[in-house]
């Protein structure tokens, strides 16, 4: 015997989620046959709930208590239970042998037919299960094949496919309460190590790896002095971190290192009372290395390495640089680092960047003539113009005369956006000048040294036409 529970139409999606949990309270063998329908094998439940009617009523009462608006049907076949539950309101109990007659009044639109077949049945003038069921099975087989036969059986309420019971997903979660609050990372590492070992053993037993790792720390309400001084309100009693892995990992030491690095970068603000680790399982990574290519670094080690770098330079600053396809100079994006083409990517990027930025001027025959050093970020400056051309440029706090200049080189774009840009570049040769001490503007010693230049140096300057601000962009060697 089967029972089918179907949520009434228009019910909120969260109720769909709780339907299985509700059904499993009555029978261990359930199958979710649709988002809003669950089939229960109720064989033997009469000892617990009495007759099918009693069972159905009990289910209905409890459903009402749980706020689940259900249509319930009980029948000797899964098909009959399913379609009766879908088609009839309230409770329907079908006596064995009465399935076809009971279902015959249901509209044919309830039958799960492919759209093309639905259209054909409609053209045939069939409106109900009974109309369809009355057709000779040989005729249906001839026209729709096995699929037609299955649907024909379903319309007659005859047994369908065997129930595929829903098995609960194992939870990969480990936790440990601590005897006393921990304040240091070192002792916590031991506990984390042991928990990760247990977690990975469970995953490994089921042929899984860690796809994402969630750490939850319960913190002591007695705050450290330093934390208390900062802000009491901002500190929660639960501290949570999640680590996304580029590839599923089962390497315990790597996972521990990643966790440690993350905690070092984001330390909890109070002593720890309990630790909980949960893994989102994922199929382990299977790779076949190329016979003639050097093996790439282990993903686990690479991830640890990247995490270390991220800790140093900050999130968002680690990855593969990629030039954006635009005329806007220096438009660069950082994409997640990909191991396969890392070296080539960097090489190509540098080549493209140099070409795009015009860092190498060439002769007519293409041979290199000049190279230039680009300042990143560009240095803001003042330029005085005469007849629309730069006349003087302020370099190292001193204004220097422009001996000759070429330009303007004009670029503009993004005119359709709220952020259009326009830029006017000039190549200027400045008059000779004694070495002067740099006082402001340069970002670091390296740039200062490079920017100093020699007498008569060529510079590249530009003006953002939106803001009218001038910058020194580069110095030619």
């Amino acid at each position: 015997m089967f029972a089918c529970l179907v949520l009434k139409s228009g019910v909120a999606p969260q109720s769909c989620d709780s339907l299985c949990a509700f059904a499993v309270a009555f029978s261990p063998r359930i199958e979710q046959i649709a988002a809003d329908a669950v089939l229960l094998d109720i064989e033997g439940l009469e000892h617990l709930f009495g007759s099918p009617h009693s069972l159905a009523e009990t289910v209905a009462v409890r459903a009402a208590e749980n706020g689940l608006p259900l249509q319930i049907a009980i029948a000797s076949t899964s098909n009959a239970a399913l379609y009766a539950a879908r088609g009839f309101p309230g409770i329907t109990v079908i006596e064995p042998g009465d399935e076809a007659r009971t279902l015959s009044a249901l509209p044919l639109t309830l039958l799960s037919t492919p759209p093309e077949m639905q259209q054909t049945l409609s053209l045939w003038g069939l409106r109900t299960f009974g109309d369809f069921a009355a057709l000779p099975v040989s005729g249906i087989a001839e026209r729709f094949g096995t699929e037609g036969i299955h649907l024909h059986r379903a319309a007659r309420g005859e047994p369908g496919q065997a129930l595929l019971p829903l098995l609960p997903d194992p939870e990969f979660e480990v936790a440990q309460e601590l005897d006393y609050p921990l304040e240091l990372l070192e002792p916590l590492s031991f506990i984390l190590g042991s928990l990760i070992n247990r977690l990975c053993a469970g995953l490994q037993a089921r042929g899984k790896a860690v796809g994402r790792l969630h750490l939850q720390l319960k913190l002591d309400s007695i705050l450290s002095t330093e934390a208390a001084e900062k802000s009491y309100d901002n500190i929660s009693l639960l501290f949570e971190r999640s680590i996304s892995l580029p590839v599923p990992l089962i390497d315990t030491s790597a996972l521990l290192k990643l966790l440690r690095l993350d905690l070092e970068a984001h330390p909890p603000q109070a002593p720890i009372l309990a630790v909980r680790l949960r893994a989102e399982p994922a199929p382990p990574r299977v790779t076949q290395n190329d016979l003639f290519q050097p093996a790439a670094p282990e993903p686990a080690r690479l991830e640890v390495c990247l995490a270390r770098i991220t800790k140093l330079v900050g999130a968002g600053n680690v990855g593969s640089p990629e030039l954006i396809d635009t005329h806007r100079p220096d438009a660069v994006d950082v994409r997640p680092f990909r191991i396969a083409d890392g070296k080539r990517l960097v090489r190509n990027f540098v080549k493209k960047l140099f070409r795009r930025a015009g860092t190498v001027a060439t002769n007519a025959d293409g041979s290199a003539l000049l190279a230039c050093r680009i300042f990143r970020p560009p240095v803001r400056t003042d330029v005085e113009c005469s007849a629309g051309r730069p006349a003087t440029v302020r370099i190292r706090m001193e204004r220097r005369k422009v001996v000759s200049c070429a330009g303007p080189w004009l670029t503009s774009g993004d005119w359709w956006t709220a952020d259009p840009w326009q830029r006017e570049e000039w190549d200027v040769e400045l008059a000779s000048q004694r070495e002067a001490k740099w006082t402001d503007g340069m970002p670091n010693a390296f740039a200062r040294q490079r920017f100093a230049g020699s007498p008569g140096t060529l510079y590249r300057i530009y003006r953002e036409l939106q803001t009218k601000v001038w910058y020194v962009d580069a110095a030619y060697d």
């Binding site: 054909t120 053209l123 045939w124 003038g125 069939l126 009355a134 057709l135 000779p136 005729g139 001839e142 026209r143 094949g145 954006i324 396809d325 635009t326 005329h327 015009g358 001027a361 060439t362 002769n363 007519a364 025959d365 293409g366 070429a406 330009g407 303007p408 080189w409 004009l410 670029t411 503009s412 774009g413 005119w415 359709w416 956006t417 709220a418 570049e425 190549d427």
Partner: protein, 1096 residues
């Protein structure tokens, strides 16, 4: 160098490398804008070099003439390596070579290359010239080395030596003095290296330098349009187009001073532009076009041959009157022949006569229309069917000495294959490169422009649909309909600063209006040439196989003096021809359209009652509302009827005065007694263009040619200055003839407001002939006419379903599509009593291909189909969905029921007449069997296939059959859908359409029906006209703008409506002025509605 006002010397510069929007998505300004701005900059000349074509050249030439510029012609030619070589025309030989070069590369490539072609030859550009082709056509051309996509730039990518070799090769082809090293400066750093290389190569090869700006738009702001076009061309969005877009906005027309400043280091490059410009002597005024001669027998010249053919024809048309030299027809013919001989146009008339003769020999119906109907020579030659002498038409409207223009003869032919045969005859006669269709420049307008711009700006699909929806296709525009309001109604804020794309969309949408998108094919204009047409204008392949088009559109051809013959497809001509064939086959009668009884009472009765569904030109709602008032009694009344419902008479407020005078409610008066002769036939109201020309001739003393010049001055290309000049001449002439004061003002007002929109009388007369013929055939041979009408859909004003219902109301019987009886087209069947009925053809089965239907006919001709499996087996072309469509529409019901072909013709007819006695399978049984027949049984079971005698399915009921009919064929032969709800409608007090004539004027009525026409004409000030069809006929409703606003959604969406309002029955014109509307709910949700024709 020229001396400027401040005493300094300014360098002169001429832009010799400009692309216009006629480079199709590679340029952003029209040639007129470029020429206008060039003139503003004070440049004496400009060269237009569109990509692989000369489509913009005529407009450029005309605009340049207007501004006093010299228009240099040239083109950018795509080479096989993908680079682009700019070529300038030096002399006529060069122009001819350029035309041939472009023709060669265009005709070598398919119009729409397949994707596989592109991948297989990735390196070869499909439409591209080889160096050999350049060498063959180099004479008279000057080449430039090009800008960043020129051959030199491409060579430089491979290295300096490669570029030098390319330059050497070009110098070898064109000669050192005809190859200029082109320098462009667009404020791009990378361009400088290229320029240095070009200068170095030029020095080594002694090539002259030439500064150009590679112009793509007139003014910097138009760079945005070019960016949008680039995206459309590359099928990308602005956000993802990256470096495909322009780097800056420097490719605009620049003044000489700015160019001189840019090229201070190469002043000779600037001065060379002036030198080169002075070398380029060719303009389009020197085209060298000649119309082909007509071959005449020895001893005759074209004039004498034409005279002979004309007089032969005149005797047939006018009888002995044509022999009498003093008779009016003969005098007119002699006058025309003298003018034709004087203008050397005999060849043209003979060529048109030759086409008409070919049509007659082939049995293809042909009739000239337009201004040619004013010519007695055309009438005598059989080109036109209207007697211009009898109708006193104005010959000068067709041809005049003053105008110096070629005459324009339009030939109406049956649309479809027959017209194509005539077109192919012209190609055969004058050679593939001696004749071609004129082009039609497709421009950015309406929803397609909105969609493309919306996509390019990155709007998602729903937003693009909303934006495109803002472009109203309704002819009438509400004055309150500001863009702000339209955008607001669509949920978009034009002033939303957070999303500037909406404002940008609006601005771009306006900016691209009327810019060319691609070249299409004109519906029927053909140009011919003595010698090779590809020496006059480049030719391109049309998308239709076997056709070639010139790169100029109809107007450009006319402006450039190319003679055009319009071979226009007219659906009604095909209907008339098909009707005649059907009458011959079914009625055994021969109908000659030239000899129809001229005063058939049935025809005039039908016209007077506005019973005109399916008739030519007089079937529209507006015509129907005018017919009872005009009450035609003679052929000339039909001419007036055809000409009166036109924008000219409507806008000029001529309709009501004419109708009132006709009904005797207003006295017939004339602006001046001298005009009585001209306006008498139209009761003192000018209705036709010819009348206005005559008025000008009589009142102001204009000659015929001057009057025609007046008409042209007021056409769509009107010039204010020219109009004022002509008005002054008009008034001066009238004053000298003693017409002054109010009459003068009235006449001037009539002429100026009417000349543009007025309909030519000759044209109306030609159409009236066809309208009369269609009415005659409908009245006397309804079955044949209806079958022919149904076979030539879509055409006219009404859906086939309405035509069928109308014919049924006239007593015609129809029989459904039947694979055992039907042909592809609708046919006529006779019953035992000799009554004709129309058998619907298989072309009405939606989704059935003609090839499949023909295969069914072939298989049927061998032996009848025993059952549906037999049909499916013997017609392998038949797809499953086609078989199911046939079954659903009831076309398989009689399969296996009648042993077609095995009986004698008589027996078959007897059986057909007694078909009700036969056993038919019902549609569901056919569907049941068809479903089984289309499943592959496998070789093992195939021999045992046979019809399953039992079907468990119930037959369809009536509404189901009707729904299946409409779904499967779009028409139903049974009752009207509204008839099924008549009892319910009677209870609600709804009046039938046919009963409205018995309701008194001013009564409040309810009408209901299927909406078959929705109209909102531009001349009706926002009023909407609706036609509702029920089982008894068509009822008309008028919706005021206020009611329309209130019920807008219902009016647009609901297929069945109930309309309540006051009945207006004025002079037998019946309509209901709607006050309230509601959906006919019991039918609205059904699928029983037929499609309506909306928004004409």
């Amino acid at each position: 160098m020229t001396d400027t006002s401040d005493g300094s010397f300014a360098m002169q510069y001429i832009e010799l490398h400009t692309r216009s929007a006629f480079s199709f998505l590679r340029g952003a300004s029209l040639p007129e804008e470029l020429a206008g701005y060039c003139a503003e900059l004070g440049m004496p000349a400009l060269a237009l070099l569109d990509r692989d074509g000369l489509s913009g050249a005529p407009r450029f030439h005309q605009a340049a003439q207007k501004h006093g510029l010299r228009a240099h012609i040239g083109a950018e030619i795509t080479l096989q390596d993908g680079s682009v070589l700019p070529l300038l025309v030096e002399n006529r030989i060069g122009y001819q070579n350029l035309c041939r070069l472009i023709t060669d590369i265009k005709l070598r490539s398919p119009k729409y290359p397949k994707a596989s072609d592109a991948t297989s030859s990735a390196l070869r550009v499909p439409t591209a010239a080889s160096y050999d082709a350049l060498a063959a056509y180099s004479e008279g051309l000057v080449a430039l080395t090009g800008g960043s996509n020129g051959p030199l730039a491409y060579g430089l990518e491979q290295g300096f030596e490669e570029a030098r070799e390319t330059a050497k090769r070009l110098a070898h082809i064109f000669g050192v003095h005809n190859l200029y090293a082109e320098l462009q400066r667009h404020s791009r750093r990378d361009q400088e290296a290229q320029n240095q290389a070009v200068v170095a190569i030029a020095e080594r090869l002694s090539l002259p330098l030439l500064a150009t700006n590679g112009v793509c738009y007139a003014q910097p702001a138009e760079r945005q349009i070019l960016d949008v076009f680039t995206c459309i061309r590359n099928k990308v969005r602005l956000n993802t187009a990256g470096r495909l877009l322009c780097r800056n906005s420097e490719r605009h027309l620049k003044p000489a001073a700015e160019i001189a400043r840019l090229f201070t280091d190469f002043p000779q490059a600037v001065s060379n532009t002036v030198d080169l410009s002075s070398r380029l002597e060719f303009t389009l005024a020197d085209l060298g076009y000649q119309f082909p001669d007509y071959p005449v027998p020895p001893g005759e010249d074209m004039n004498s041959f034409l005279r002979g053919r004309t007089l032969e024809g005149a005797r047939a048309r006018y009888g002995e009157a044509a022999c009498d030299e003093s008779s009016r027809p003969r005098r007119q013919i002699e006058r025309e022949l003298a003018l034709i001989a004087h203008l050397k146009l005999a060849g043209y008339f003979l060529i048109v006569w030759d086409i008409v003769r070919y049509c007659r020999e082939q049995g293809i119906l042909v009739q000239g229309r337009g201004s040619a109907a004013n010519s007695a020579v055309c009438y005598s030659l059989g080109i036109t069917a209207v007697d211009p002498v009898g109708m006193e038409l104005l010959f000068e409207r067709f041809l005049s000495e003053e105008r110096g223009e070629w005459p324009d003869i339009d030939l109406d032919l049956p649309s479809g294959d027959r017209r194509e045969r005539v077109i192919q005859y012209v190609y055969e006669r004058y050679g593939q490169r001696g004749a071609a269709m004129t082009a039609n420049v497709i421009t950015y307008r309406g929803r397609s422009a909105a969609r493309e711009i919306g996509k390019v700006l990155g709007f998602d699909e729903p937003a693009v649909a909303r934006l495109a929806g803002l472009v109203r296709t309704w002819e009438w525009r509400d004055p309150q309909d500001t863009p702000e309001r339209q955008f607001h109604e669509a949920g978009l804020d034009l002033n939303d600063l957070s999303d500037p794309r909406i404002r940008t969309f609006y601005e771009l949408y306006l900016a691209v209006q009327d810019l060319p998108r691609h070249l299409g094919q004109h519906s029927g204009g053909m140009v011919m040439c003595r010698g090779r047409l590809d020496s006059i204008v480049p030719l391109e392949p049309a998308s239709m196989p076997g056709r070639v088009v010139v790169q100029w559109d109809k107007d450009d051809c006319a402006d450039m003096g190319l003679i055009k013959v319009d071979l226009l497809g007219l659906g009604m001509m095909a209907v008339l021809e098909d009707s005649i064939t059907l009458i011959r086959e079914s009625y055994g009668e021969e109908v000659n359209l030239a000899h129809l009884p001229p005063d058939d009472p049935a025809v005039y009765s039908a016209l007077q009652q506005a019973d005109t569904i399916g008739l030519f030109q007089v079937e529209s709602r507006a015509q129907q509302s005018c017919l009872p008032r005009l009450c035609p009694k003679t052929f000339y009344d039909i001419v007036v009827q055809v000409g009166i419902i036109r924008p000219g008479p409507i806008v000029g407020n001529m309709v009501h005065p004419y109708l009132k005078r006709r009904q005797g409610k207003e006295p017939v008066t004339y602006p001046h007694p001298a005009l009585e002769a001209v306006l008498r036939r139209t009761l003192g109201v000018p209705l036709f263009q010819e009348q206005l020309l005559r008025v000008a001739m009589i009142a102001s003393g204009f000659s015929g040619g001057e009057a025609e010049e007046l008409r042209r001055a007021f056409t769509h290309k009107r010039s204010e200055k020219r109009m004022r000049e002509i008005e002054v001449r008009l008034r001066r002439g009238m004053e000298s003839n003693g017409i002054a004061g109010q009459p003068q003002d009235e006449i001037v007002q009539a002429i100026t407001s009417f000349a543009e929109y007025g309909f030519p009388e000759s044209h109306a007369a030609s159409f009236a002939l066809i309208a009369y013929a269609s009415a005659y055939l409908k009245c006397h041979y309804l079955a044949a006419f209806t079958a022919a009408l149904l076979n030539n859909q879509p055409m006219g004003f009404y859906h086939p379903a309405t035509i069928i219902k109308d014919a049924q109301r006239h007593g015609l019987h129809f029989r459904p599509v039947d694979v055992t009886r039907s042909d592809w087209l609708c046919t006529i069947e006779k019953d035992g009593a000799g009554c004709c009925s129309v058998r619907l053809g298989m072309l009405y089965i939606k989704g059935l291909r003609e090839t499949t239907a023909r295969a069914i006919l072939r298989a049927r001709a061998e032996r009848p189909f025993e059952h549906i499996d037999d049909l499916a087996c013997r017609v392998p072309e038949l797809h499953k969905d086609e078989l199911l469509r046939l079954a659903e529409a009831g076309a398989l019901n009689s399969v296996g029921s009648l042993p077609c072909g095995t009986l004698s013709k008589n027996d078959e007819q007897i059986l057909r007449s007694a078909q009700d006695c036969r056993t038919f399978m019902h549609r569901r049984k056919a569907l049941w069997q068809a479903e089984s027949a289309t499943r592959p049984a496998g070789p093992l079971f195939e021999p045992s296939l046979a019809a399953d005698p039992d079907c468990p399915l119930l037959p369809m009921n009536y509404p189901e059959r009707m729904e299946a009919d409409l779904r499967g064929t779009g028409v139903t032969l049974g009752k009207h859908a509204v008839a099924m709800r008549r009892a319910e409608l009677d209870r609600e007090g709804v009046t039938r359409a046919s009963d409205l004539r018995h309701v008194r004027n001013g009564a409040f009525v309810k009408i209901a029906g299927n909406v078959i026409v929705r109209q909102r004409p531009g001349t009706a000030k926002g009023f909407v006209f609706l036609s509702l069809e029920d089982e008894t006929g068509v009822a008309n409703a008028i919706i005021t703008p206020g009611v329309f606003d209130h019920y807008r959604v219902m009016l647009v969406d609901e297929p069945f409506l109930i309309i309540e309002g006051v009945l207006q029955n004025l002079e037998n014109v019946i309509s209901v002025k709607a006050a309230r509307l509601s959906p006919l709910s019991s039918l609205s949700d059904s699928n029983l509605a037929t499609d309506s024709h909306d928004f004409h």
